[in-house]
Each structure stands twice: as structure tokens, then as C-alpha cells.
């Protein structure tokens, strides 16, 4: 292995135990290297195991198989040279800013004077000089994350892992903090040799990284890799950056097996992870898409800007639209299908009818529920039965989430109902009364 390889993963796999005891694969056959001087972004939709992968590299969870090495030695627990910044900041609310920053040094047994000197220096570097005595609750989100970053930097880490570090912040604050980080990095004012960013914000990944790795879902595998040769600082509006963003959008929405989403919504086994989006967002996006200036066809980044929603929030909705055959997603664009046009023009009752029809033909889970209900003499079914079915291939909480989505869609489409108190699914009351 050459000197400049920081982290090397070979054939890493990880699975979690589902409720019924069967293993569910989260990561499979992941090969990855992080080299000196590199910022790498890991992209993927939820369920692609990108956070799991990050935690494996951090030594927080062991991999089931494969090799995980840091500077040629296997990682078997948290390692001194690797620090992490958390999405939710993970600051200790009862410690002052300075005590939070000193925590890692304290754990290493660094003397009090030395600790103070180093924490002061880092606080100044990150723009928090004078905030040392404050409690985290006194700070705004952006300031809190600065503390999180300072806490990671003060131990002079070789590698900095950032787990969606900017996604809990508002857009402007996130961008400022991101730019500040890049300035420190490009100015070589921190001793960090490599950075790994987990994100679902495509723009953020393109703006920050030298290399983007895209993970597919269920199980997570490395699907594609994209090198970004542009010098930093980069301009979001420059044609090169825009083209890259489009390219990543395209890579992200591509299906590994079936080509492009929505071409034929033939995907799907029963436990297909239904996109986590609700009916009102589906309606909102399809209306937006149908209106001027898009008139039925939109560039995804532009649509995101218009909707004032993040990619993270929109991707599941795109997927849902494609799944229901209401829109097609291809090459970073989304376009309404003819059914989609009819849907937008329809009145509310017809909309819900179309929705229900599509659920029966294109979504195996909702179709299955409906069929099972029709076969039951009582017309009802305990949700447990469906959950058990789903848990054969999903974790318990994911199964619950998928069922929740299915119930909402099913209710909207009028194909079944659900009683919260009894936990039973039931056929809708016939409306001809």
C-alpha cells in the first residue's frame, strides 16, 4: 500500500439482524480508498448505508467481513487519528463551549494548560474566540456546529469524517460554514490530511469534494464514482459546476438494474422500500411541475430551487411520481407522463381514483394488502401480518415506516383504511349508501 493511502476498505459488508432473526444486508462488497489531500463525498438516498459506512470507518461499528484499514493497520475501534462531526452536533449541553472542545484532549490525558492553549487556538481559528464560556444552548445552530467542528479539529485529526454536518442548518448558514471549512482546508491551516463527507445535498458534494462516490440502495453498493477536477473555490453558477450537478442528479436517479426511473415501474418486490414522502408533497410537486415556467418538464436543480426544498426532501417524491407512473425522471430532468397531465387536470375525486388505480397496478405492497383484505371474510387484517412480511427483508423500524407510507397512500387512493386503535387494516366502507 502506498504511503498516501489513509483509509482503505476492501470487500466490506455489513448486515443487521431483522426482527425475525434473519439478516438484512446493508452494505455489500464495498471497496474504497481515501488518499492524502483528498475530499471525498459519499452520496446516496436514505437506506444506502452511507452513514453505516462512515461509522465503520470511524470504528464505531465493526464490519461483518472485508478489510478496514487506517494507514495499513486494521481499524477495530475508534482510532486517535480519526475525528467526526455530527449532523445533530452532539454537543454536551452541560459543558461549556471550551469544555466541549477540550473533551477529546481530556480523554487523551493532555494537561490542563496544554488543553486550554490548544482549545483557545482552535476556537479562534473557527471564529468562536470569546465564546469559550458559553453553554451550547446559548448558541445558534451554525455556531453550535462550529463548536462541533472545533471539537473535532482540536485533536489534530488525520481524517475528518463529516456526517451530514451542514444539513441541520439553514441553507445560508450551511453554505457559509462550508466555505469557511474549505478555506481552512485549501489554506492548509489545519493538519487534516483527508476528509470524508456524507451528504444528500448534491450541490454541497459538487462544491466541496474532489471525488464523489454514489451508493445504491438495498443493499448499499458503490454504484458510480465521479472525479471533480475543478479548482476551489468553485462558483455555483458556472456552467462547469451546473453540468456536474446535472450529471450527479442523473447518476443518482438512475436505477442500477432497470435503467431509468419510471420508464417502466416494473421494479419491485413486495418489500420495496416505498419512498418516504407524503401525499401533500406529491400533490405539491406535481402541481408545480405542471405550471409555468415548467409546463410539465423541469430540470431537477431548478425545480428544487423553485420548490424551496432540498434534494433530500425531493428525491423520495420524484421516486413516488415515477413509481405511480405520473412522471418520468431521466438525465437530470423530470417530465409528466400523459397520465400525469390527466391527473393534474382532474378534479379531486378523479385524482384519488387515479391514485388508487395506480397503487393497485404499480405498487406491489398496496396491491397485496388490498388483495389480502378482499380474501378475508371480515374484510380486515392485522397490521402485524404485513409488518412480519416486510420484516423478512427490512429492519423493524423501516418496515413500520414503509407500512406508514403504504397506509397513507392507500387511504388517499381509497383502496383500504386503517384503524389506529386496533392496528387493523380494513376495506373502505362502500360509498354507495
Amino acid at each position: 500500500m502506498s504511503q498516501d493511502v489513509l483509509i482503505e476498505l476492501k470487500g466490506v459488508a455489513k448486515s443487521f439482524r431483522a426482527a425475525d432473526g434473519s439478516a438484512r444486508s446493508v452494505l455489500e462488497q464495498v471497496d474504497f480508498t481515501l488518499k492524502t489531500g483528498e475530499i471525498v463525498a459519499l452520496l446516496g438516498k436514505s437506506g444506502s448505508g452511507k452513514s453505516t459506512l462512515l461509522r465503520i470507518m470511524a470504528g464505531l461499528i465493526p464490519a461483518d467481513s472485508g478489510k478496514v484499514g487506517y494507514r495499513d493497520r486494521p481499524i477495530q475501534g475508534p482510532v486517535p487519528g480519526i475525528a467526526m462531526v455530527f449532523q445533530s452536533f452532539a454537543l454536551f449541553p452541560w459543558l461549556t463551549v471550551q469544555q466541549n472542545v477540550e473533551l477529546g484532549l481530556e480523554a487523551q490525558g493532555v494537561s490542563a494548560n496544554e488543553r486550554e492553549k490548544r482549545s483557545m487556538a482552535v476556537l479562534e481559528l473557527i471564529g468562536l474566540a470569546g465564546f469559550g464560556g458559553a453553554l451550547p444552548r446559548e448558541l445558534s445552530g451554525g455556531m453550535k456546529q462550529r463548536v462541533g467542528i472545533a471539537r473535532a479539529l482540536v485533536v489534530n485529526p488525520d481524517i475528518l469524517l463529516m456526517d451530514e454536518a451542514f444539513s441541520a442548518l439553514d441553507v445560508l448558514t450551511g453554505e457559509t460554514l462550508r466555505d469557511d471549512m474549505l478555506e481552512l482546508w485549501d489554506g492548509e491551516r489545519i493538519s487534516t490530511k483527508g476528509m470524508l463527507i456524507v451528504s444528500h445535498n448534491i450541490e454541497e458534494a459538487v462544491m466541496m469534494s474532489d471525488r464523489i462516490i454514489i451508493l445504491s440502495s438495498d443493499p448499499g453498493r458503490i454504484r458510480s464514482e465521479l472525479k471533480i477536477g475543478l479548482p476551489r473555490p468553485r462558483n455555483v453558477d458556472s456552467p462547469e459546476v451546473r453540468a456536474l450537478i446535472d450529471q450527479v442528479y442523473d447518476l443518482m436517479t438512475m436505477r442500477p438494474t432497470h435503467g431509468v426511473v419510471g420508464e417502466a415501474p416494473a421494479i419491485a418486490h413486495l418489500a420495496y422500500r416505498l419512498p418516504d414522502t407524503d401525499v401533500s408533497r406529491i400533490e405539491g410537486v406535481i402541481d408545480l411541475l405542471a405550471q409555468a415556467p415548467f409546463n410539465g418538464r423541469a430540470d431537477l436543480p431548478q425545480l428544487a430551487a423553485e420548490a424551496e426544498l432540498s434534494d433530500e426532501e425531493l428525491f423520495p417524491t420524484y421516486e413516488a411520481l415515477a413509481l405511480l407512473g405520473l412522471a418520468l425522471v431521466a438525465k437530470g430532468d423530470i417530465a409528466l407522463t400523459s397520465l400525469g397531465h390527466r391527473y393534474v387536470a382532474a378534479d379531486q375525486a378523479l385524482k384519488q381514483d387515479i391514485f388508487g388505480q395506480q397503487l393497485l397496478t404499480h405498487v406491489p405492497l398496496t396491491a397485496h394488502i388490498r388483495r389480502s383484505l378482499e380474501q378475508e371474510a371480515s374484510g380486515t387484517l392485522a397490521e402485524k401480518r404485513i409488518l412480519e412480511l416486510l420484516e423478512e427483508s427490512l429492519k423493524a423500524d423501516e418496515a413500520r415506516q414503509v407500512l406508514k407510507v403504504a397506509v397513507e397512500w392507500g387511504r388517499y387512493g381509497g383502496i383500504f383504511e386503517y384503524d389506529f386503535h386496533t392496528g387493523r387494516l380494513e376495506l373502505p366502507q362502500t360509498s354507495e349508501e
Partner: protein, 577 residues
């Protein structure tokens, strides 16, 4: 600028040596407390022979002294409880194998009435310090401890188990040692809940104070100087005035430690609140403000914390993730399987012993009789909790919706929960005897006398937490009368009501020992039930029957909790999400 900064610094260190006015204000207070504690502690260790009688005077002039002794005892017990909780929770939360045995054990201990512990513990404690009163003191402290420790341990354990995962990950990434993690993460996170439970425990301590101080177990009759013994003597002597004085002293005691101990602690612990909700107003304490302004104290506490920090970093381990191997999962599983088998065998062994015990020592007829008594007490508990709920829930909701009253009512309710039921004996005996009432029915209210307040203050808390917008919406929709209660208030307070009712039910079982067997001078009123059975047996010192009674009570309490309250609790939890 730089110059001025330096000047200020020098000035600060110079003045730092001289006391300021807050120091002078604090000094007498600190001295008085120190002297009182030293005096009280000295009195706790004196020559004493079993059989010697300690005279308790009903003269109110002695009350401050008795109060001091009682409070000292209660705080000693609290300190021991705290230590117990720390060790218990740390072990139970760290080791799954230990947890499997410890948590059910705690459940059982929680349902054992204080008299049961006392009956077992008094002899060994006296033997520990022969010829000294310290042994009896220890027995009393132990008895108080058993009425304080369990909920504290449980709360701490719960908190440690629910430490937010991201903080856990952060502490692992920065490689805090187990010791550091406990003091930096787990304990601070648990402190608000722990403090609240300490306050509840103090109330619990008062409630059983008479039993703890006036020891009349197994033929012993020792009355340690204290408020509890004072009440016991007053009851024997039918002295109503003394009872009134005792109530006054108790009130003063509670007020004192509330102001000098719990308020400052609560105000200080405000920073440990994890949720950054702005809704709750921060606790205020004049004493803490004094201490914070006092220079001497400032320097003292500064040095104290620096010392603690040094102790923390001293325990850092420089493990690095590369040398430490993960334990192999397979062997781990085998061990845990083995441990399960050991636990099961131990349980089977215990059941076998129990059957032998009942068969040869007490007889099945007696056991059946005691179970029957258990059902009578069960009926009483459920009926009275029901009645108390009917009365208190509407009142509590009414109060909870008016924030100007709710805080004051909470403080009063906390005091009432501490009120030993023995103080009601004169009134109850007088009423029952003059009106010729049936004790089987009319003694029952005493059982919930001390515990109904848990329902009150939990529901008050629940009602005051109803979102303001929800109430506005209800008004806006024109909801009125019963409909408003049915659709808004009752569902909203249901979870907190259940929490209160669970505590009240547990407490009522324990209280049945005092409430079903009432004495005033020579008059004794008795209701049939498990509580009076245990009380009678402890007075005659029949160990086999005490054990039987307590065992049956444990079983009843645990079954009631498992199959009734727990179900309701889960239901409430599910609905409030």
C-alpha cells in the same frame, strides 16, 4: 486596551483574597449548619444496651433537637441511597448479564414494605456495634434507606440507558474511558431525573418515619430520639397538642431542607436539562445566588472542580482502536446462554424452597388465608385509587390550567405526600369510635391519604403542559362542558394520570400496613387485610408469618403492576405519541 486588561486582572486577584458582603452573609449560615451537624452526629454514637429505654419527652422545647436528629438520619439515608443508586445503575447499565438479575430484583425490593426490611435487619445492625446506640441508628437509617433508594436507582438506570445515541457516539469517537463517560455523559444526563426522585424519596422517608425510628419489631421496643418517635410517644399518650407540634416541626424541617438543599441543587442542576425547551422557567434559589456571589465560595468551588477534573483525566485510557479486538460474538452468546440457565435454576431453586417453606412452616391453610386477605387489600387499593381519581382529576385539571396556582399547589401536594399517616390517627379514632363506624370500611381512606397527592400533582403537571394552541382551538370550535373534557382534557392528561396512579397504588400497598391497624392510646382499630396481618405479626415477632405476609404482598404488587398498570401505561404512551 491591553494595559487595562492586565490591570483588571491584577486587581481581581488582589481583591480575591478579601471577603465581600456575600461572604459575611453566608458565613454564619455555614457555621450554624456545621455546628448543628457535628452536634447531631456526636449524639448518634453513645453507649447503649439493648433493653435500656431512651426517654422521649413530649415537651416542644425538645423538638428542634429531635428534628435535627431526624433530618440527619434522613440525609445519611439519602447519601447511602445515592451511593447505592450510582453503583447499581452503573453496573446494571454496563453489563447485560447483571441487568437480567438486577432489574427484576429491584422490582421486588420496591414492593417489599419497610417493616419487612426492618424485621430482618435490626438484629445484625445491633450486633455490629455492641453497647452503642450507633447500631440502632444504623438500623433506622437502613429502614429509611429502604424507603428511598429504589426509585432513585431505577431512575438513574433508566436515564443511563436512554442517553442520546449521538452523544454516545461522540464520547466513543473521542475515546473517553468508561470512568470519564460516566462522569461526563451518563451522570450529567441523569441528574434532573435523579434530583426529582431524591425529592420524592425524602417525602417517602417522612411517610414511614414513625416505623423507622420507633422500632417495635421482634419484641424490641426502642425509640430513637427523633420526630418519628415523638409522634409514636404522643400517640401512646393520647396527646393531641404534641401531635400538632410534631406537624409544625415537620413542616419547618421540610421547609429548611427544601430551601437550603434542594432549591439550590435544582437551580444549579438547571444546566443539565437536556431538552432546550424554553417553556419551563428556570428554578431560582436565593442561597445559590448568595454562594455564586461569594468570593470565598467561588474560590473554594473553583478549586473543588479543578480537583474533580484532575481525577477525571487521571483515568483516561490511551487505548487505540487498533489494538483492541472485538470480543467474538459466538463465545459471548454462549456465555449469556449459560447465565440464563444459571438464573433459571436459581429461580427454580427459590420456588422449591418456597413450597417447602409454606408446606412445613406455615401450612397451606394459613397461606390461603393470607392470599384471601391480600384480595381484600387489593379491593381496597383499587377502589380507593378510583375514588381518589374521581375527586382529584377534575380538581387537578382545573388547577393545571391556571398556571398562577399550579406551582404553589405542587409544593403543597409534595408536603402532603410526606405527611405520615400516623398523624391522622387521633382524628380517625375519635370519629370512628364516637360514630360507631365499621373500621373495615372507614379505615380504608387512610391508605390513600398519603398517596392520592401523587395523582394530584402528576395530573396538575399534565394539565399545565397542554399546549396553549390546543386549548384555543377547542374554544374556537365551541367545545363546552362534558364534550370538552371528553375530547380535550381527559385524553391530554391520561398519560400523566397513569404515572401518578401507578405511584399512588404502589404507595398505598405499603401504607396499608399503617392504615389497616390504627392505635390511639389504648384504643386499637383494625381492618381485615394483608397490611394489618403483617403489622400484627411484626408485633408478635413471628418471622415465618412476617415472611409469608410480605411475600404475598410482593406477589400481589408485582402482578398488579405487570398485568394492570403496565398495560395501561403502554396504552397511554401509545396514544400520546
Amino acid at each position: 486596551m491591553l494595559e487595562r486588561f492586565n490591570l483588571q486582572k491584577r486587581e481581581a486577584s488582589l481583591v480575591g483574597k478579601a471577603p465581600n458582603r456575600w461572604d459575611w452573609a453566608l458565613l454564619p449560615l455555614v457555621l450554624v449548619i456545621l455546628v448543628a451537624l457535628a452536634f447531631g452526629a456526636m449524639q448518634m454514637s453513645r453507649p447503649f444496651a439493648v433493653g435500656e429505654s431512651l426517654s422521649i419527652s413530649l415537651d416542644p422545647a425538645y423538638l428542634p433537637y429531635y428534628l435535627l436528629r431526624t433530618i440527619l438520619r434522613m440525609f445519611s439515608a439519602l447519601a447511602v441511597s445515592l451511593l447505592f443508586s450510582l453503583v447499581f445503575a452503573a453496573i446494571a447499565a454496563k453489563y447485560r448479564a447483571a441487568e437480567k438479575a438486577m432489574i427484576p430484583l429491584l422490582d421486588i425490593l420496591q414492593s417489599v414494605p419497610i417493616l419487612g426490611f426492618q424485621a430482618i435487619a435490626i438484629a445484625p445492625f445491633i450486633a455490629l456495634f455492641p453497647g452503642n446506640i450507633l447500631g440502632v441508628e444504623c438500623a433506622a437509617i437502613f429502614a429509611i434507606f429502604t424507603s428511598q433508594a429504589w426509585n432513585m436507582a431505577f431512575s438513574l438506570y433508566q436515564s443511563i440507558r436512554t442517553v442520546p445515541p449521538e452523544l454516545n457516539e461522540a464520547s466513543r469517537i473521542f475515546r473517553l474511558s468508561g470512568w470519564q463517560r460516566f462522569w461526563r455523559l451518563e451522570l450529567p444526563f441523569a441528574i434532573p431525573g435523579l434530583l426529582w426522585n431524591m425529592m420524592m424519596s425524602m417525602s417517602g422517608g417522612w411517610f414511614f418515619l414513625v416505623a423507622a425510628e420507633a422500632i417495635s419489631v421482634a419484641g424490641q421496643d426502642i425509640k430513637l430520639p427523633g420526630i418519628g418517635s415523638y409522634i409514636a410517644v404522643a400517640i401512646e399518650a393520647k396527646d393531641g397538642h404534641a401531635i400538632a407540634w410534631a406537624i409544625g416541626a415537620m413542616l419547618a424541617g421540610i421547609l429548611l431542607y427544601d430551601q437550603l438543599f434542594f432549591r439550590p441543587l435544582l437551580a444549579w442542576a438547571d444546566k443539565f436539562r437536556f431538552e432546550e425547551s424554553q417553556g419551563e422557567s428556570a428554578q431560582q434559589s436565593w442561597l445559590l445566588n448568595w454562594v455564586r456571589r461569594s468570593r470565598w465560595m467561588h474560590r473554594l468551588t473553583g478549586r473543588f472542580w479543578a480537583l474533580m477534573r484532575r481525577a477525571l483525566s487521571g483515568f483516561s485510557v490511551n487505548s487505540n482502536g487498533r489494538s483492541m479486538g472485538h470480543r467474538s460474538a459466538a463465545s459471548f452468546k454462549a456465555w449469556s446462554r449459560l447465565w440464563d440457565i444459571v438464573l433459571m435454576l436459581a429461580t427454580l431453586g427459590a420456588v422449591y424452597r418456597l413450597v417447602v417453606f409454606v408446606h412445613s412452616d406455615v401450612g397451606w391453610g394459613e397461606a390461603g388465608h393470607v392470599v384471601g386477605l391480600g384480595f381484600i387489600t387489593l379491593l381496597r387499593v383499587l377502589l380507593l385509587i378510583g375514588l381518589a381519581s374521581l375527586v382529584w382529576v377534575p380538581i387537578a385539571v382545573w388547577i393545571g390550567l391556571r398556571p398562577q396556582y399550579s406551582q404553589r399547589v405542587q409544593a403543597v401536594a409534595q408536603f402532603l405526600a410526606a405527611f405520615p399517616v400516623n398523624l391522622m390517627f387521633p382524628l380517625v379514632v375519635f370519629v370512628l369510635v364516637t360514630l360507631q363506624l365499621n373500621p373495615n370500611i372507614w379505615l380504608s381512606p387512610l391508605m390513600v391519604f398519603g398517596t392520592q397527592w401523587y395523582i394530584l400533582f402528576n395530573v396538575v403537571a399534565g394539565a399545565s403542559a397542554i399546549p396553549h394552541e390546543l386549548r384555543l382551538a377547542a374554544d374556537n370550535l365551541g367545545l363546552k362542558g362534558w364534550l370538552k373534557w371528553k375530547r380535550v382534557y381527559l385524553p391530554a392528561v391520561f398519560p400523566s394520570y397513569i404515572t401518578g396512579a401507578i405511584t399512588a397504588s404502589g404507595g398505598s400497598w405499603n401504607a396499608s400496613i399503617v392504615a389497616e391497624y390504627v392505635t390511639w392510646g389504648k384504643t386499637t382499630l383494625m381492618a381485615d387485610g394483608l397490611g394489618s396481618y403483617i403489622k400484627q405479626m411484626t408485633e408478635t415477632g413471628d418471622f415465618h408469618r412476617i415472611a409469608l405476609g410480605i411475600g404475598v404482598m410482593c406477589v400481589f404488587v408485582m402482578f398488579l403492576n405487570r398485568f394492570f398498570w403496565r398495560k395501561l401505561y403502554l396504552l397511554a404512551e401509545n396514544h400520546s405519541r
